[in-house]
C-alpha cells in the first residue's frame, strides 16, 4: 500500500523553483548584511540613560570623526552601536565622553575586528562548506552505490542552503538580520541535517529495491513509509528551535531562526526534492539509449 507521491513530482519541482527564484532574486537584488565578523568593524553594546541619548551618542562619535553605521535602542536604555574598527585611544576618549553624559554608563559588550581578519574568516567558512559537500557526496555515493544518489542528495543540500541564504537576504533587508560566523555554522548544520533526512529515505529505497519493481513505485513506497517519521522528527527539532527563537536571548535569536529555516527546508527537500531528483536523473541517464 503506497500513495503515488511521485506522480506529482512536477509540482514539487515547481514549488522548489519558486522558492529558489525568490531566494535568488533577493540575493541579487538586496544582497546580504554582513556582520563585522566578515567586514571588520566595532560593535558596542552599553546602557546609557540621559535625555536625547541617541542624538548625543551620534555627536560624540562625530567628534571622533567615526562614521556611525547603525545605532539601535533596546530595552532599559541599552544601545547597540556599529562603526568602523575603534582604536584603543578612540575608545578611551569615547568612554570618557559617555561617562560625562551618564556617570552610571555601563558596557555590556564590545567587539572589534580588523578588516583583514574578517575576510580570512569568510574564506575559511566557504572552504568548510565545500569540504563538507565533497565529503558527503563521496559518503552518499559509496553508501548507495551510484552517483545518481550522491548528486541528488547534494543538489537537495544546495537547494536548502540557497533557500537559507535567500531567507537571510530577505530578513536582512526587512529586519536587519546579519550574516555572521554563527550563520555559517547554521548553514553547515542544515547541510548535515538535510543529508541525514535524505539518507533515511534513500536507505528505504535501497532496502525495498531487493524486490524488483519500477523505480517510481519504489520511490512511492519508500516515501509513503518514511514520511510520518520525517515529519515527526522535524516536529521535535522544530519544537526545540521554536522555543529558542521565542524564548532565547536576542543575541542568539537569528542563529536559532537560521536553523529553523534550514530544518523546514531540509525536511521538504529530503522527500520532495531528493527523491524526485533521483527519478529525473535516472530517466536522463536512460533516455539516450532509448
Amino acid at each position: 500500500m503506497s500513495i503515488k507521491f511521485m506522480r506529482f513530482r512536477i509540482f514539487y519541482f515547481l514549488l522548489s523553483a519558486l522558492a529558489l527564484a525568490i531566494s535568488l532574486f533577493s540575493i541579487l537584488r538586496f544582497g546580504f548584511r554582513y556582520s563585522i565578523d566578515f567586514t571588520g568593524g566595532t560593535i558596542w553594546e552599553f546602557s546609557l540613560s540621559t535625555s536625547d541619548a541617541a542624538q548625543k551618542i551620534e555627536e560624540i562619535l562625530n567628534n571622533e570623526s567615526l562614521p556611525l553605521s547603525s545605532l539601535d535602542q533596546g530595552l532599559d536604555q541599552s544601545f547597540l552601536l556599529k562603526t568602523n574598527p575603534l582604536t584603543t585611544t578612540q575608545r578611551e576618549k569615547t568612554v570618557t565622553a559617555f561617562k560625562e553624559l551618564d556617570p552610571a554608563w555601563k558596557e555590556l559588550r564590545f567587539e572589534t575586528l580588523g578588516p583583514s581578519l574578517g575576510a580570512e574568516l569568510l574564506k575559511k567558512a566557504i572552504v568548510a562548506v565545500f569540504l563538507s559537500i565533497t565529503a558527503i557526496l563521496f559518503f552518499v555515493a559509496s553508501r548507495f552505490g551510484g552517483s545518481i544518489y550522491g548528486i541528488s542528495a547534494i543538489l537537495a543540500m544546495l537547494h536548502d542552503s540557497l533557500i537559507l541564504f535567500g531567507a537571510f537576504s530577505l530578513f536582512g533587508h526587512f529586519f536587519k538580520a546579519e550574516l555572521d560566523t554563527l550563520f555559517l555554522t547554521a548553514v553547515l548544520t542544515t547541510l548535515s541535517f538535510s543529508v541525514h533526512d535524505t539518507i533515511v529515505v534513500y536507505d528505504r529505497i535501497r532496502e525495498l529495491g531487493q524486490k524488483s519493481r519500477s523505480l517510481e513505485a519504489l520511490c512511492d513506497k519508500a516515501v509513503t513509509e518514511t514520511l510520518t517519521r520525517s515529519l515527526n522528527n522535524s516536529m521535535t527539532i522544530i519544537f526545540m528551535l521554536l522555543a529558542l527563537v521565542l524564548l532565547g536571548a536576542p543575541a542568539t535569536r537569528w542563529f536559532a531562526l537560521a536553523l529553523l529555516v534550514g530544518t523546514v527546508s531540509g525536511t521538504y527537500s529530503s522527500t520532495f526534492t531528493a527523491v524526485p531528483l533521483v527519478l529525473a536523473l535516472n530517466s536522463l541517464k536512460k533516455s539516450p539509449k532509448n
Binding site: S116, L188, L241
Partner: protein, 464 residues
C-alpha cells in the same frame, strides 16, 4: 557483547544515578512545607575519591567567555626582519612574557595562545571575568623593555628600608637592544646549567665599563621594571660574553633565558581583534537559553507521548537519561560551554529523538505486517539501525570538519564554532547509546507483552 536485558538495565540505572550525582550542583538546598510538616535540608554533591585516588576534576560546569563574560584579544606580532630561528625563540619569549604580565594583572584562568595563521604570528589572550580591558590591552601590548642597572652606594642603615629601585638606582644605558641573545649553557666544570648572555659590540663596551666599576657588587637586570635577577660581578668582562651561574636548574635557567630574550628580541604587537562580553549579558543568555531548552524538551516529550503512548514515555525517559549523561560528560571532560555549544546540544536532542522515531515507525510497520509483538520489537531495532548509522555518520562528517581536529589552517579554529562542533559530536555518540541501547532495554523489560495503545490499534484496523 550480549548482555541480558536485566543486567543491562542495572548498568543503565547505575550510569544514570552516577551521572545525576555528577550533575548536582555543589549544594542543593531543599525546602518545602506541607501543612504543619516542613522539610529543610541541603544536599551536598559527594566527593568522588577512592582513598588517594581523587578525581582530578572540580566538576563545575565551565562557561566560555561569551557566557561568563570576559575579554578575548588577538594580537599580531611584528616579526619582519627576524631569521626563522630568532623568530621562534622571540615568539616563545613573547608568549611567556605576556603570560607573566597577564598573571600580574591578577586574572585567574587566563590563557595565552600563539598561532601562525594567514602568514601572521598571532597571540590570543583570553581574560575571563570582569577586567579593565583598556588597561589590559595597554599592558599586554607594550613592547618588552630590558634594562641593566648598577647597585647604588647606600649607607648601611638605609639598606633595610630601601626599595629595589633605591637599591639599584644607577642606570647604565645598557638595554635589551644591546643583547644579541641569551641561551642555556652547561658549566664545563660542574655540568650545572647556567645562563649565557651575548652582547653586540657597543653592548660589550658598556658592559666592560659596568663590570670594571662593579667587581664584588651586584648588577641588576630589570624586565618591564620588574627585577629579574641581580648577580654579583666576579671579574671584568671585556668580550661581551657573560655567564650567570650558580642558582639554576634546567627549568629555571630556561625561564630566565626566555625572559631575557623577550627583552633582547622585542616584538611590537598590534591588536586586531577584541571581543568583550559583560557578565550580565552572558547570564541573560544562559538563563534564557536554559529556559528555552527546558520548554523545548517538555514539548518534545509531550509530543512523543501523545504520538506513541507508552513507547513515547520510554523515549522521553531515555531522553532524560541522555540529558543526565551529557551534562555529566561536560563536567568530566571538561567541555567549555559556549552559546553555540548549547544550541549544538539542543540539536543533538533532536537527533536522539529521531533514532527513537525511526524505530517506533518501524515497529508500527512490523505490527501492520502481522508480526508477533516480540518479533516486531526486535526487528524494528535491527532494521532501523542501518538508517540511524548512515544518517548519524553524515552528521559526524560535518561535525569533524567544524571541529577541525588537526588544526588545519585553512579551516576555522574559532572557539565558538568548535564549541558547537564538540557538543554536536558528543551528542551524536551519546544519543546512539540512549536512543538504541537504553530504549531497547527498557522496552524489552517493560513492553515485552502486547498491550493496547490507541494509536497502534487504529493503524491496525486501517491496514489489516
Amino acid at each position: 557483547m550480549r548482555f541480558k536485558p536485566k543486567n543491562l538495565f542495572w548498568l543503565i540505572f547505575f550510569v544514570t544515578i552516577l551521572s545525576l550525582l555528577i550533575d548536582m550542583p555543589r549544594q542543593l538546598p531543599l525546602n518545602f512545607r506541607l501543612g504543619s510538616f516542613s522539610f529543610s535540608q541541603t544536599l551536598y554533591r559527594p566527593r568522588f575519591a577512592l582513598g588517594p585516588l581523587a578525581l582530578p576534576r572540580d566538576l563545575d560546569l565551565k562557561y566560555g567567555l561569551d557566557l561568563a563574560g570576559g575579554a578575548h584579544l588577538m594580537f599580531v606580532a611584528d616579526t619582519a626582519g627576524l631569521s626563522d630561528q630568532d623568530k621562534e625563540s622571540a615568539l616563545q619569549s613573547l608568549k611567556e612574557n605576556i603570560e607573566r604580565r597577564v598573571n600580574l594583572f591578577g586574572v585567574t584562568e587566563s590563557t595565552v595562545q600563539s598561532s601562525h595563521q594567514a602568514d601572521q604570528d598571532r597571540l590570543i589572550v583570553e581574560l575571563p571575568g570582569v577586567v579593565n580591558v583598556s588597561e589590559a590591552v595597554n599592558l599586554i601590548g607594550q613592547t618588552a623593555s630590558l634594562e641593566f642597572r648598577q647597585e647604588a652606594n647606600l649607607p648601611p642603615e638605609a639598606t633595610a628600608t630601601a626599595t629595589l629601585d633605591d637599591l639599584f638606582a644607577i642606570p647604565t644605558g645598557l638595554t635589551g637592544a644591546h643583547l644579541l641573545r641569551s641561551q642555556v649553557e652547561f658549566s664545563p666544570n660542574t655540568g650545572e646549567p647556567q645562563v649565557g648572555l651575548e652582547f653586540n659590540r657597543e653592548g660589550a663596551e658598556i658592559f666592560q665599563k659596568i663590570t670594571e666599576a662593579s667587581v664584588g657588587k651586584r648588577v641588576a637586570i630589570f624586565l618591564d621594571n620588574q627585577l629579574l635577577t641581580a648577580p654579583t660581578v666576579n671579574e671584568v668582562i671585556g668580550d661581551g660574553r657573560a655567564i650567570i651561574s650558580g642558582q639554576f636548574d634546567t627549568k629555571t635557567a630556561r625561564a630566565m633565558v626566555a625572559q631575557l630574550n623577550a627583552g633582547a628580541l622585542p616584538l611590537s604587537l598590534e591588536l586586531i581583534q577584541q571581543r568583550q562580553i559583560g557578565p550580565t549579558l552572558g547570564q541573560d543568555t544562559v538563563q534564557k537559553g536554559m529556559r528555552a531548552g527546558l520548554v523545548g524538551l517538555g514539548l518534545v516529550s509531550l509530543f512523543m507521548i501523545l504520538n506513541y503512548g507508552f513507547f513515547g514515555f520510554i523515549a522521553s525517559l531515555s531522553l532524560f537519561i541522555y540529558g543526565a549523561i551529557t551534562l555529566a560528560l561536560y563536567k568530566l571532560i571538561p567541555v567549555t560551554l559556549t552559546f553555540p555549544g548549547i544550541v549544538g546540544f539542543l540539536l543533538s536532542v533532536g537527533m536522539a529523538v529521531d533514532s527513537n522515531i525511526l524505530i517506533f515507525e518501524r515497529f508500527k510497520e512490523e505490527i501492520r505486517a502481522a508480526q508477533p509483538w516480540a518479533v516486531a520489537l526486535e526487528q524494528a531495532f535491527g532494521r532501523a539501525w542501518d538508517s540511524i548509522r548512515d544518517a548519524n555518520l553524515a552528521t559526524l562528517i560535518t561535525g569533524f570538519i567544524l571541529f577541525n581536529p588537526l588544526n588545519w589552517s585553512f579551516l576555522s579554529t574559532s572557539g565558538l564554532v568548535r564549541g558547537f562542533a564538540v557538543t554536536l559530536i558528543l551528542g551524536i555518540f551519546i544519543s546512539l547509546f540512549t536512543g538504541i541501547v537504553v530504549t531497547r532495554t527498557l522496552l524489552r523489560l517493560f513492553a515485552a507483552k502486547p498491550f493496547k495503545i490507541k494509536v497502534f490499534s487504529k493503524e491496525k484496523t486501517k491496514n489489516i
